[in-house]
Amino acid sequence: MQKGSARSATTELALPKLLKGDFTVRFTLALMHKDVRLATKLGNDSATPMVLANLVRELFQTVINEHGADKDTQTLVKLFERNAGVAIAPRG
């Protein structure tokens, strides 16, 4: 993915750590949720529909409720692992 069209901060930085099972707190779910919440509020206040960002905010809220706001943003992977019934990060 890093050499293909899906290259991103996730594939370059987050994924290599995730695949080693590294969930060290670098940026908390709480902070990411706050930022997306502020962005969707700004969208709302300026009558700009933010269909995707509102969805993403609720994904972060879901994972916060399940795993705790102080966990790293990488923890978001657990939501998708559960939804699909597969493991992406090694269990440890």
Partner: protein, 221 residues
Amino acid sequence: MELGYIGLGNMGGALARRLLREHKMRVFDLRPEVVARFADAGAVPTQSAQALARESDMVMTCLPTSAEVRDVLFGDGQVAEVLRPGQIFADMTTGDPGETREMAARLAEKGVQMIDAPVSGGPHGANAGTIAIMVGAPTELFARVKPIFETISPNIFHTGDVGTGHVMKLVNNVISAGERAVTFEALAMGIKNGLSPRPAPRSCRRAAPAAPRPSSHCRNC
């Protein structure tokens, strides 16, 4: 220009350490032990945010949210009470653009210019001197503060008037959060359909190469 830095947490601490290499700087944090550590590194410790603000030409903050910034200025911190005309208040928090513009308007009544300068790149980017700083400020004020921010990183961007730095940061983080989510969802589908988690990203790296590679170099395919 005498600098003062309030909020020496994960992010603020890393930014303040960069500034400290080239500037005389006063520091304040609610945790005295953190202030003491900065004093050991050459910063001037202060007893309160107000004391820091009295002595600094430019007061900088990096706090969890705009609510704490408001508290420093107009709540318990009472910094606004001691700010004088000509002083600059630079907020590096990832804040609320609306709240920031409102605080800027209140400070402007006292002749104090508030600007927003949130960052992107994390403590690692701050320490490495590569962090992006998005500055919302009037053009002539931006020109004055740019050299100060450049002691943190060369990646300084003028986004427009006050508040726009925070808007840019929110745009940045919505993209970051969204691509994170969709990447995980797609990977889960891939793994469920036969990709194995470890080799998958490595072989995907070769998925759309700019030019064909000799097969001997394509060990993971």
